[in-house]
């Protein structure tokens, strides 16, 4: 950012040399602007730095190829624009955002001595930054730019109404010109960025992001709600398409995370509260009571050489038995436990919901370590970070809701995640795939793909879960490899093998003998005696309904955002799409960013992704999150509120309205007036929309500007 500032400062001066007189006047105006800016400016409601009547606005109409030009009459729009008050210049071009397009703006600002720029094109949410830069390069303050949205909110949505579309475009330009005529120079403030980052969720995505940030020299807090890092990937056996063993590639990473001096790992913790803004987030973490102290925590309590060393003596004596969630309930655990041997950090945890406080574990742990504290309470820790990455991952859709497939009704219907644990050597059966009903090895296994995905009934998920095709192919391979003679049948609608080496993997599995039946499974019935299952479907390629007997059914269940995602995203002000996945700032141009500056997304929390895509997006997010930290400061949009003190009655009603406590009443010159703490104000305008005296000026969205916009449309541009 520093570099950018320097170069833009230089650029106009260079042009001044070559272009003589015209820019000189602009310089004068630019200097006049800050002079009129002090807060006490009289009649600030009308406080435009350009006097009405003096405004010279340039209107630039973009064709966007045929995107805009195809639905409206550009000529007519151009002609009408010329008649709008304050318009000094109108031009149109095929692609305004292109280099030649921006040159048109540049030249017109100089030649026509424009005081404001209006581009009628796509949406400010896409190209406002582009055209602000162009405006700045031409020598104007970048906030002298206003956009008229005639594509996304016009030509694209009124394709069959040419006259209506043209009229709307003309009005949109009138509205934009009215605002542009009253725009003022604004100067964004730079604030320093706290040189630390936070990653929420420590699956493979969150871990990768944290490792990258740490490697870039940034202190990173990694917050994980579970007892261990690793996420879903640590539950998997092998990974497509390379068939690497999941633990083998993940465990070293987990150890790296545990060891990295730049990563402060907080497991069994969650985000409790968030305040602040980019560069300066104050995050409160709830460290849930774990019941067991780490060596460091013990040390801090004066128990030297104490704390949990992972020996597991406590577990042996604990009398409470519960199903182990990590093994999808297929293995028991105690109330004090680690859910699998590779946990990082290797610290036992007490499930206080089931602990009976018998104290046996305390005795077993012994007087040296004294690691267990049955009375431990939740702790709240406050940390300050500059940027945040959310990587909260996913859960499995409760597939029992689709009753036709019999999950939780028939013992031998399992989910793919259960399959992963059953086929995994460290799983509950030591890697032997068996039927839950009788422990026998299945010889015919049916895989139900799109189980709950691509489903518009409301009981299911409308999207493609994106990795179930591929892991079902992997599962088919695994049983062919492990159980000689066992045949996998894959019931599918489409096999989506889109990634690098994925189609080749499909070829390989087909070659290995897996059978593919193109038909979505209608229902499954169980023979109550044998517990065998019959799958009913339509072999759509043969055009024949079929009923197939199998020993085991594996449902490739849909996925959904992790349980706590909604609460967490709201803390950070991040939106979600209709299906609950976190919403990126732009699906193509800013897939890792969000609409909250300084908050980024990694992995599946943004939408289904396999491991390669998760890791790629995590590295992208880490890179994006490190930029503000490396820059050292960020510019905040200068949209904050200002008090017009002569008008302020000191009633203080705005003070309670502000959600960020940015306002306060102060005594000044013997009067009570309101004062804004600019660093706290985020510019929502809630105070400005309310103040009965009109004493609050919202920069860039001032009352005169908005009223002028309304008048421009309804009264035709005159005021």
């Amino acid at each position: 950012m520093m570099a950018e500032k320097k170069s833009t400062k230089k650029a106009p001066s260079k042009k001044e040399d070559t272009k003589k007189a015209a820019p000189m006047k602009l310089e004068v105006k630019k200097q006049a602007a800050p002079a009129a800016k002090p807060k006490a400016a009289p009649a600030a409601a009308a406080g435009s730095t350009t006097k009405p009547g003096e405004a010279r606005i340039g209107v630039f109409i973009c064709h966007c190829g045929t995107n805009i030009a195809g639905s409206m009459d550009i000529e007519a729009v151009q002609e009408a624009s010329k008649k709008i008050p304050n318009v000094a210049f109108v031009d149109n071009y095929k692609y305004m955002c292109s280099m030649p397009g921006q040159t048109v703006i540049h030249k017109a600002v100089k030649d026509q001595k424009l005081t404001g720029v209006v581009v009628a094109a796509c949406t400010p949410r896409l190209h406002e930054p582009t055209f602000r830069t162009a405006t700045k390069d031409a020598g104007l303050n970048p906030f002298r730019f206003e956009m008229a949205n005639i594509r996304d909110q016009n030509s694209w949505v009124h394709m069959h109404d040419r006259v209506g579309s043209t009229d709307k475009a003309i009005d949109a330009i009138k509205i934009a010109v009215a605002k542009a005529a009253l725009l003022e120079d604004l100067h964004p403030k730079s604030v320093p960025v706290e040189p630390t980052a936070m990653v929420v969720g420590a699956g493979v995505g969150g871990m990768q992001a944290a490792l990258d940030l740490a490697a870039a020299g940034i202190k990173t807090y990694l917050i994980e709600k579970d007892m261990s890092i690793g996420g879903r990937m640590s539950q998997l056996d092998k990974t497509f398409p390379t068939l690497d063993c999941s633990q083998c590639i993940l465990t070293p990473k987990m150890v790296d995370v545990g060891r990295s001096p730049n990563i402060e790992l907080m497991t069994w913790s969650e985000v409790h509260e968030v305040e602040g803004y980019i560069g300066n987030f104050d995050v409160t973490i709830r460290k849930k009571a774990r019941g067991v102290m780490t060596p460091a925590e013990a040390e801090a309590k004066g128990i030297s050489g104490g704390g949990c060393n992972g020996c597991g003596d406590c577990e042996n004596v604990c009398p409470v038995i519960k199903p182990n969630e990590f093994e999808v309930g297929m293995k028991p655990r105690k109330a004090i436990y680690v859910n699998h041997p590779q946990v990082v950090p290797l610290i036992y945890t007490i499930d206080f919901d089931s602990c009976v406080k018998c104290g046996l574990c305390v005795t077993a742990c012994g007087p040296e370590k004294r690691a267990i504290d049955l009375e431990m309470k939740d702790e709240f820790v406050k940390v300050k970070v500059g940027t945040v990455i959310l990587a909260t991952g996913y859960d499995i859709f409760p597939i029992e809701n689709k009753t036709e497939w019999g999950y939780k009704q028939y013992e031998n219907v399992i989910t793919s995640l259960e399959f992963e644990r059953l086929i995994c050597a460290s799983g509950p059966t030591g890697g032997h795939l068996v039927r839950p009903s009788d422990g026998k090895t299945p010889m015919r296994v049916g895989f139900v793909l799109c189980a709950g995905s691509r489903d518009n009934t409301g009981n299911g998920k409308p999207y493609c879960s994106r990795f179930c095709c591929m892991y079902s192919l992997k599962h088919a391979h695994q049983i062919i490899e492990k159980i000689p003679g066992c045949v996998p049948y894959l019931f599918y609608m489409d096999i989506r093998s889109f990634g690098k080496m994925y189609e080749e993997f499909y070829y390989r599995i087909q070659d290995e003998g897996a059978k593919f039946i193109r038909g979505r499974v209608a229902n499954i019935l169980e023979d109550p005696k044998t517990k065998n299952l019959t799958i009913y479907t339509d072999d759509t390629l043969l055009n024949r309904p079929i009923a197939m007997d199998v020993d085991l059914v594996v449902l490739a269940a849909a996925i959904q955002p992790a349980a706590d995602t909604n609460r967490t995203r709201k803390l950070f002000g991040v939106s979600c799409s209709m299906d609950g996945w976190l919403l990126e700032a732009h699906p193509k141009l800013n897939p890792c960013g969000t609409t909250t500056a300084g908050v980024f997304l990694a992995g599946v929390c943004q939408g289904p992704k396999d491991i390669p895509d998760t890791v790629a997006s995590a590295e992208g997010a880490a890179s994006a999150a490190s930029i503000p930290i490396h820059m050292g400061e960020v510019e905040l949009e200068p949209y904050f509120a200002m008090c017009i003190e002569e008008k302020c009655a000191g009633c203080g009603m705005c003070v309670n309205l502000c959600p960020y406590s940015a306002l306060a009443l102060i005594e000044k010159d013997g009067r009570t007036v309101m004062q804004v703490t600019e660093a706290k104000c985020k510019g929502c305008g809630t105070c400005g929309g309310f103040c009965p005296g009109g004493a609050i000026k919202m920069n860039h969205f001032t009352t005169p500007q908005i009223v002028a916009q309304i008048d421009a449309f309804l009264l035709g541009g005159e005021q």
Binding site: R454, A522, T540, I546
Partner: protein, 193 residues
Amino acid sequence: MARTKGYPEALDKKLRDQRYYREDSNPEFLKKLKTISRTIPHMCYQCGTCTGSCPSAPRSTYRIRNFMRRAVLGLENEALTDPDLWLCTTCYSCTDRCPRDIAPTDVIMAMRNLAAQRDIVPVNFLKTVQAIYSSGHGVPNNDVNRAAREKLGLTRDPPTTHMYPEYVKGIQKILDHYGLKARADRIIKEREG
């Protein structure tokens, strides 16, 4: 010789059948189906859940998914003249399970409506109309049923038009209002002479 009897003709037919459906396709057909059925047949992605659920499919050549395909493609003649159209039991299993939230059963009913407008209705359906007209029942009571009912301690006839024949008139009035009976009579006469 005998073994190849009919072969060239079959080949001929096959080649003809393979021709693309374009000239037969009527986009209005899909629109009409949507209006009558109030469902969204054009959203079918041919997954087969409907046929897989259908109790009629394993017992006949009826394939609900095929009719959905014909709806999408606007194959009006092919759909309306296929006798399988009348094999749906209207059990609504397919409607229960269709992942695209389509009601295939209602599409079939819409097709039957359109077929009926062209007088394409199997005679047994028309005879049902006649039975309702004369007795108020599609399947009137018979002696076997009467005996069974008695055994169960029920009245020999149910408390419907069978017990109160004076109400048959009301039913006839409804059917006459729509001209259904006259139409059934006419078509049966045309078919059976």
